[in-house]
């Protein structure tokens, strides 16, 4: 394994991915930057339309063009510029060194194909396995992700598995070639809590075993709290806040992060009215001038509606997109 010097497996700089629609240009991802070290887990948190999924599809070069386009920025994976790779080179990267799992396993499993065949395809293609070897590997992977009786179940069709088991099959497929980066896009959102706990434990275990880096995309702050080393919070295509996990929860430096944290009911607390962020998520085709969160922000002042906020560095590892980032950071410090 080669290293690009600074320990970063992935570095995304100023990435912009836009979509042309009838309504005008939708800036789904608009100038985001982040880095991911080897063996680390990065949590990307955001609501629907925040751009978190588009950001990761961009890394995989899976943006449908047209209507979408990576307009600018750079994506460097293990020292190589992903955006400069040929289609063929990208295909070699995908599935082998970067793998992805999705919210709904049925969207990535072929319903007409036996699981065995789907799993074998991956290693036959990327690792040059012969048929027999690929089949053995498929069974091994299914055992690895905790599918009971893998020998007989390997020839089942996807619909013969339950939701949690299907998610395991997808994880087995994603991990077949021991990828260095696993992108998990809402991997547990469609699952029940007890199954979610199983899948999260599984991802943790496999990550520890293989040393892979993980990008975990979710809307659930609880999920990232237990899984991620660093978190970025996205809103309207922008990174609103970026921080090590512990610090973000303890001392949010952005009004949006603070609002999100407060709007999750705390089961240990007495009942009362729950904090709510007012208003609706913005329409990305018609963003207001100034800060996109300003219409919903409790901290907003006149300048927020007029000028786009600066990206303020709070500590060596922390950034917040807000005119009043330092003030918000200081306030949350007092509350602790």
């Amino acid at each position: 394994m080669t290293d690009s010097g600074n320990g970063n497996l992935l570095s995304v700089q100023n990435l912009c991915t836009y979509f042309e629609t009838e309504d005008g240009t939708v800036k789904a991802v608009d100038g985001i930057s982040f880095e991911l070290k080897r063996g680390e887990t990065l949590g990307i948190v955001g609501e629907s339309g925040s751009g978190k999924s588009v950001a990761n599809l961009s890394i995989m070069r899976l943006i449908p063009d047209p209507p979408g386009k990576i307009v600018s920025g750079s994506i460097v994976f293990d020292g190589r510029d992903v955006l400069a790779l040929s289609t063929r080179e990208v295909r070699n990267l995908r599935g082998k060194r970067i793998a992805m799992i999705f919210q709904d396993p049925m969207t990535s499993l072929n319903p007409f194909m036996r699981v065995s065949k789907q799993l074998m395809e991956v290693t036959q293609l990327h690792l040059g396995h012969a048929k027999k070897q690929a089949r053995e590997h498929a069974i091994k992977m299914l055992e690895h992700v905790g599918i009971p009786d893998a020998h007989s179940r390997v020839d089942s069709y996807p619909h013969e598995f339950s939701g949690g088991m299907r998610q395991r099959v997808m994880i087995a497929m994603a991990l077949s070639c021991e990828p260095e980066l696993l992108i998990a896009d809402e991997p547990t959102t469609a699952l029940d809590v007890t199954i979610q706990a199983q899948i999260l434990e599984l991802i943790k275990r496999l990550k520890a075993e293989t040393g892979a880096s993980v990008i975990l995309i979710t809307h659930d702050l609880g999920v990232v709290a237990g899984m991620a080393d660093h978190i970025i919070v996205m809103y309207a295509g922008k990174v609103f806040e970026q921080a090590p996990t512990g610090e973000l929860f303890e001392r949010p430096g952005n009004p949006y992060t603070r609002g999100l944290l407060r709007s999750v009911p705390d089961p240990t607390d007495e009942q009362g009215s729950l904090y709510q962020i007012p208003g609706q998520p913005p329409d990305l085709a018609h963003l207001p001038p100034g800060c996109p969160f300003a219409p919903r922000c409790e901290r907003a002042e006149e300048i927020c509606r007029r000028e786009f906020p600066p990206y303020v560095q709070l500590t060596s590892e922390r950034y917040s997109l807000c005119h009043f980032a330092n003030e918000v950071y200081a306030e949350s410090g007092e509350q602790v």
């Binding site: 609501e47 629907s48 339950s162 939701g163 949690g164 088991m165 029940d192 809590v193 007890t194 199954i195 979610q196 706990a197 199983q198 999260l200 434990e201 809307h219 659930d220 702050l221 609880g222 999920v223 709290a225 237990g226 996990t245 512990g246 929860f249 609002g259 999100l260 944290l261 709007s263 999750v264 009911p265 705390d266 089961p267 240990t268 009942q271 009215s273 729950l274 904090y275 709510q276 962020i277 007012p278 609706q280 998520p281 919903r296």
Partner: protein, 346 residues
């Protein structure tokens, strides 16, 4: 606080079984999905009763059965002196005025070809409550009540966001001034920041209009927040029932404990320390549910007797009910019960 009150709805040994299609022409399949299997439950006026469980546990079927939106196999649903389970269709239709439902998917539960005004006004016409100018005014008042501007009245559902659509669904349910509302996963399809808005709105409306809710959700955090009492359901049965705080802080059932321990907490310090009870396997099929206690196949405390004896929902502590033979009022803590003992077994 509700114990002295009369229940608004009293469910007695309710069963909903769905026969499975299949078998041959001469021999019909005997297989049956036991979606709801003997539920007895009182819902008191003015309370929010939370109903929590994993997918396939029968919580939605129970909610729909109370409103007779699905056929009831046996049992009773008493409401205002009527047994809803045995009313004629026309008599039931009259009762529907008092019983409403809010659905999970705000995208699928509104007719895309009707304007907001038509959607909210329809029940007013069906029950002949208002027409003409009076109807118009009532619709506007309802929009205001759920926090939507009156100018939305001519809009179509696709013009609205998920949270706004859910508000429209709530306004439609409120149009007929119901007593009781089944809220079936009303926030699951919504963004985090919108979930809090809808929870607060439902709670405000309950206080203002003295409504009674059955709040169905798989989200324990939400259930704990909105509910006075919480019922935990597993494979067609209620396995634990107590006030919301107690269920969360002192659960008696191993299943409830596992469920609560599985909920991720948005606090890294808690997450780092917590010991998760990870349940093995999936929820078994409701076609052939396990004998005895239905949870025994996944329960870390199960003993031989658990697979033979069907546990009853009994009061273990004051107003705290659980269905487990391994605990009893004398020994409510399953951790302290001697290995192999079943004090709840009579």
């Amino acid at each position: 606080m509700q114990t002295e009150a009369q229940p608004l709805i009293s469910i007695q040994d309710l069963k909903v079984h769905f026969p499975l299609a299949g078998g041959s022409l001469f021999r019909r399949s005997r297989q049956v999905v036991t979606a709801v299997d003997g539920v007895t439950l009182d819902i008191y006026r003015g309370e929010t009763l939370g109903l929590v469980g994993e997918s396939g546990c029968g919580k939605t079927t129970l909610g729909r059965a109370i409103l007779r939106l699905t056929n009831i196999t046996s049992g009773q649903v008493l409401f205002r002196g009527n047994d809803l389970a045995h009313l004629s269709n026309s008599a039931m239709r009259e009762q529907r005025r008092h019983l409403q439902i809010i659905f999970q998917d705000p995208y699928a539960s509104l007719n895309p070809r009707m304007t907001v005004g038509q959607i909210i006004g329809e029940p007013l016409e069906t029950f002949q409550l208002a027409r003409g100018e009076a109807k118009k005014q009532r619709v506007q008042a309802l929009l205001g009540m759920v926090g939507l501007s009156a100018r939305f009245v001519n809009g179509y559902p696709h013009e609205f966001s998920g949270g706004q659509r859910q508000r429209i669904g709530i306004a439609r349910a409120l149009a007929v001034d119901p007593d009781f509302i089944v809220a079936d996963e009303p926030i699951s399809a919504l963004d985090v920041s919108i979930q809090a808005q809808i929870m607060n709105l439902l709670d405000q409306l309950r206080r203002r209009k003295n409504l009674t809710y059955l709040f169905i959700s798989h989200d324990l955090r939400a259930i704990r927040h909105v509910s006075d009492r919480v019922a935990v359901m597993y494979l067609g049965k209620i396995v634990e029932l107590a006030n919301g705080k107690t269920v969360y802080s002192n659960p008696l059932m191993p299943y409830t404990r596992a469920l609560i321990s599985a909920v991720p907490v948005p606090d890294p310090k808690v997450e780092a320390k917590r010991r998760r009870i990870v349940l093995e396997g999936d929820v078994p099929s409701a076609i052939n549910p396990p004998h005895g206690c239905r949870f025994h196949t996944r329960c870390p405390y199960s003993i031989e007797a658990c697979s033979q004896v069907e546990p009853q929902l009994v009061q273990i502590k004051p107003n705290h009910f659980a269905a487990c033979i391994r605990i009893s009022p004398e020994e409510p803590d399953i951790e302290r019960v001697a290995p192999g003992a079943a004090p709840g077994l009579l």
